[in-house]
């Protein structure tokens, strides 16, 4: 029997790297799930950002609505016409608490369906038991949309003004409905 939930690709960095590009994604599944643990190399205390785009689409076709809790406040918002899923995704910088990585999940539904825009559910977990300037400390949940109907064949992760730290690990799983 074919597997329902199957790993497609994994990248774990042994050195700092600017971007991670998963290409030639098989079109034989129904949904994709991505699990990532990420951190940056900047020396500034706090968190940095990375972006996620499909099929190298860097145009302002992404939008998202989100809610987050930072341990004190609950906030929510919406962004339009941005160049990344969930606008900016956050990860701890190097001078944050040592050995701490952010944890994200991305669920992309019907990624091969060329008749509908691409929807993604994003969870972001950044538990950092330290002082510093954090844009997204705690948890953040986003529903994101790419206003483009193409089937997803590649997924690009890119650090914003910094490289991903060694140890950053990203896995893509395929989920098959039949």
């Amino acid at each position: 029997m074919a597997l329902t939930y199957e790993p497609i690709a994994t990248t774990t960095l042994s050195v700092a790297t600017a971007s991670i590009d998963f290409t030639s994604i098989p079109q034989t599944y129904t949904d994709l799930r991505i699990v990532s643990t990420t951190a940056g190399v900047n020396a500034t205390a706090g968190d940095g950002a990375f972006t996620l785009q499909y099929n190298n689409n860097l145009s302002v076709q992404y939008s998202s609505n989100w809610m987050k809790g930072d341990g004190s406040n609950v906030t929510g918002g919406i962004t339009f016409n941005v160049t990344s899923i969930a606008e900016y995704l956050r990860m701890p910088n190097a001078s944050s608490i040592a050995n701490t990585f952010a944890f994200h999940t991305f669920d992309i539904f019907n990624y091969t369906d060329a008749t509908v825009p691409k929807q993604t559910l994003v969870t972001q977990q950044q538990e950092v038991h330290t002082a510093g300037s954090f844009s997204d400390k705690g948890v953040k949940y986003s529903a994101s949309r790419l206003n483009n109907n193409f089937a997803i064949t590649s997924i690009l992760f890119t650090g914003v003004s910094q490289n991903f730290r060694a140890g950053t690990s990203i896995t893509i799983y395929g989920i098959k409905a039949a």
């Binding site: 643990t37 609950v74 977990q125 705690g138 949940y141 140890g167």
Partner: protein, 172 residues
Amino acid sequence: MANTFTLISIAPTFPGSSILFSSIPQTFTDLVLKTSIRSSTSQTNAMQFTMQFNGDATSTYSSTSLKNYNGTVSSASTSGTAMDTGYMASNLFTTNTFSPVEIYIPQYTATNKNKTISFSSGAENVSTTAYDVDAGTAMWRSTAAITSLQIQALTGGTVFGSTWYLYGIKNT
């Protein structure tokens, strides 16, 4: 190809005040704990429970949550000797109502990372009071591989029909 998502262990349905999953195989990438639980304790509010790894009871845990309790939305941050991992229905909640809880532990064998997890739980009550939905993140500030996990603060245990399933997810 071996299964990606594999059942590791099932906890007994009549546990005491804590549940221990020990000797966790080191052959997976991530762990997922999925539960359907209801406390044996009769109290008005949902029951919180906590988790420790590898028997570590030192102050190496912290948690941040986002919740809706009785219509009030809030975010809280805690630190201490265990991580907050959600809430479950008390035995005063609507009959036969169990709480779904999922705790995801990525990269549990990594020895270069502190262990950051996610949790989500729901304690639905057909009532205008005492309902609770809670989600968040927690961290164990240790780079040790996780070999055991213990759910705690289960005052009075859980009722018959409660289930605890620990799964391993393999990325190869």
